[in-house]
Amino acid sequence: MKKASAKSPLTLDDIVRNAAPGDAEKWDLRLYVAGQTPRSVAAFANLKRLCEEHLAGRYNIEVIDLMKHPQLAAGDQILAIPTLVRKLPQPIRKIVGDLRDTERALVGLQLRPGKI
């Protein structure tokens, strides 16, 4: 299990930019991948960028490699790879794919209200 947490000093700018509901909440994200495939590497990079942009300082990404821990797939009902699971804040959301489409990813994570 690979932990990748990134913390940076909270700026006023960030607060203003991320003035979404549940603002002060801690974001707990889990990214399921299967081995170091280009797609999973891309997904992680996309996720990291997205979090830095929108959730800087209050997110936690846990990457689970199902090749190493296949038994963990059932718990979050993982079928597609890669899948990003938003464990917190509730409710659970799932985003499948390599997160290439940032807009859809933001909608999926409910960082941007409604459909575009």
Binding site: R39, L66, V96
Partner: protein, 587 residues
């Protein structure tokens, strides 16, 4: 079971040998597929909602795990493991126990569309990983995916999905697991999402059809690459023992025949049937109009069989067991004691209660369970109520075939409705039965009487006579045939004619006696006359004797006189005189 063990020998995949098959253990299905599903390949089971796809798949796994030592994985997309366990418990499978013993693994895959957002490229590696983990956890040889089409409702990108499904089935083949994939029936296609495109080795279609408010489950092997299979629609049944398919029509005409004869239970009827009765293992049809005693005849047959300690299965489509035993008591047959002894099993069900196939399935099942020597279906024509006439015929033919192959003697009764030709059974099965007894009413002199005759009975010299019979309180009794100058008579006509005949024969006898007496008298008279004549003759004879002796003495006297005269005349010694002298001197 022989077929199954043969198949087990063929399990090693070898290009030279027939396609290896994995027996399902499901009654009947292995017969239709000649051994089971294609080993190491996926099989598609499709059908509309509620037709039993999941149960078929589950039974395949459970039987594999319990009977063939092949553990299995059940990947459920629609039901949770708890629901599944509860649903199959009604079929007698203890899924929880099998899971605990690591014989079966159940993985529930939930796909919720509203939880999932798609962005960019993905694959279904997660599913593969889960399946692989489950397979490895129990060392599975069998896999069920039920119903993988649920993925289509959860994931939007159909392009990816189809590519991944293709990869999945390829992967399952590489794994060498025997897989069952279920799919919902679509409009005009086998499955709604066209799964048949990916799974092309074996496709089984389940159907749940309602015709005339009667539902019937049917199974058909649509396709089975590289092997022969039964192509018909076969009825199947889901009950407390699971699935059973009835491959009855696949049976040929190669059953063994028996030379053994069994009594009809009515001694005089046996006499009509070439003295010994019916052949064992044949089919006997009793047809006749209402109230001609068909059931009573059948009860006799059953009674006789039970007395020989044979097992009888009686399907009553119109009477309950209690009604039947009560009614038969009135003709002196106690069926109740045989039921108590377990030799007789009366199964009552309204013909219209199930579909034909269900009836057939039930009969099939009961026969397999009870293993009877005799089966009675009373009346078989009632089954028309459960389907169309044509279907009923087909079903009865299949039933007869099935019983014949098992060597079971079957007695079918059939009601001939008035107005129809008597020698035609309601269901056109007359040509395939071996013995056909026709019971009929004879209306004569204001009364109805029962008569029977043997229309046909294969393989025996049977009587050609129309015999009247009575239903007495000690059973069916065949009467003597009255064939007089006025034809065959029955009932009181026969009785009165018999009385007339008795009277006239008495008169004849009296006449004979009179003549006899007359003759005696004449003889007496004659003898008296003979006696008198003899007496007369004797008298005459006596008189003649007296006369003769008188004559003799007179002649002697004359001689003496002549001699005296000659002496007196001194006549010379004549021959006669001298002789006489000498003679008298000697004296």
């Amino acid at each position: 079971m022989q077929a199954m063990s043969k198949v087990e020998d063929e399990q090693l995949p070898s290009p030279d040998r027939a396609l290896p098959k994995a027996p399902t253990g499901i009654a009947g299905l292995d017969e239709i597929t000649f051994g089971g599903l294609p080993r190491g390949r996926p099989t598609l089971v499709c059908g509309s909602a509620g037709c039993g796809k999941t149960l078929l798949a589950m039974e395949f796994l459970v039987r594999g795990a319990t009977q063939y030592r092949e553990p299995g994985v059940f990947m459920a997309f629609e039901e949770t493991p708890e629901e599944l366990a509860r649903n199959v418990r009604s079929l007698g499978f203890d899924l929880d126990n099998l899971i605990r013993k690591k014989k079966i693994a159940v993985d529930f895959v939930r796909v919720e569309r509203n939880e999932i957002e798609e962005t960019g490229e993905y694959d279904l590696e997660g599913l593969f990983i889960r399946l692989n983990a489950a397979i490895e956890s129990v060392g599975a040889r069998r896999v069920v995916l039920d119903t993988i089409e649920a993925l289509f409702s959860g994931l939007q990108n159909e392009g990816i999905l189809r590519a991944e499904l293709r990869r999945l089935f390829r992967w399952l083949k590489d794994k060498g697991v025997t897989a069952v994939i279920t799919g919902e029936r679509g409009e005009g296609t086998l499955t709604r999402r066209g799964l048949e495109e990916y799974v092309s080795d074996c496709v089984i279609l389940l159907d749940h059809r309602v015709v005339d408010q009667v539902s019937t489950r049917r199974l058909r092997v649509v396709k089975y690459r590289g092997t022969t299979h039964g192509t018909n629609e076969y009825p199947f049944l889901i009950d407390k023992d699971g699935f059973s398919v009835l491959p009855i029509t696949s049976l040929g005409l190669q059953h063994e025949v028996s030379d053994e004869r069994i009594s009809s239970g009515i001694p005089r009827l046996d006499t009509m049937l070439g003295v010994k009765g019916f052949y064992r293992g044949t089919t006997i049809l009793l047809s006749g109009t209402a109230g001609t005693g068909k059931t009573s005849m059948a009860a006799h047959f059953v009674n006789a069989a039970c007395e020989r300690a044979e097992r009888c299965l009686y399907f009553a489509f119109e009477e309950s067991p209690g009604q039947l035993t009560r009614n038969m008591r009135s003709v002196g047959i106690d069926l109740g004691k045989w039921i108590k002894k377990g030799l007789l099993n009366v199964h009552s069900s309204r013909a219209a209660f199930y579909g034909l196939e269900m009836h057939l399935a039930l009969i099939h099942k009961l026969v397999q369970e009870f293993r009877p020597d005799i089966v009675v279906a009373d009346p078989v024509g009632a089954l028309i109520g459960a389907g169309t006439r044509r279907d009923a015929n087909l079903m009865i033919v299949r039933l007869i075939d099935f019983l014949k192959v098992q060597g079971i003697t079957a007695m079918l009764t059939n009601l001939t409705s008035g107005g129809e030709a008597l020698e035609r059974s309601e269901v056109d099965i007359s040509s395939i039965v071996d013995s056909w007894l026709l019971l009929r009413d004879i209306e004569l002199g204001g009364e109805r009487n029962r008569a029977l005759y043997i229309l046909k009975s294969r393989g025996m010299a049977h009587s050609n006579q129309l015999r009247e019979f009575l239903l007495t309180d000690h059973g069916v009794e065949l009467l003597d045939v009255y064939v007089g100058p006025e034809g065959v008579l029955t009932g009181s006509a026969r009785v009165s004619l018999e009385a007339r005949e008795r009277a006239s024969s008495l008169a004849t006898q009296q006449e004979v006696e009179r003549k006899d007496r007359e003759r005696q008298r004449k003889r007496d008279a004659l003898e008296a006359r003979i006696f008198a004549m003899r007496k007369e003759f004797e008298i005459e004879e006596a008189e003649t004797d007296v006369l003769a002796s008188q004559e003799l003495s007179r002649e002697e006297r004359l001689e003496d006189d002549r001699l005296a005269m000659a002496i007196n005349r001194r006549a010379d010694e004549g021959n006669g005189i001298a002789r006489r002298r000498k003679k008298s001197g000697q004296e």
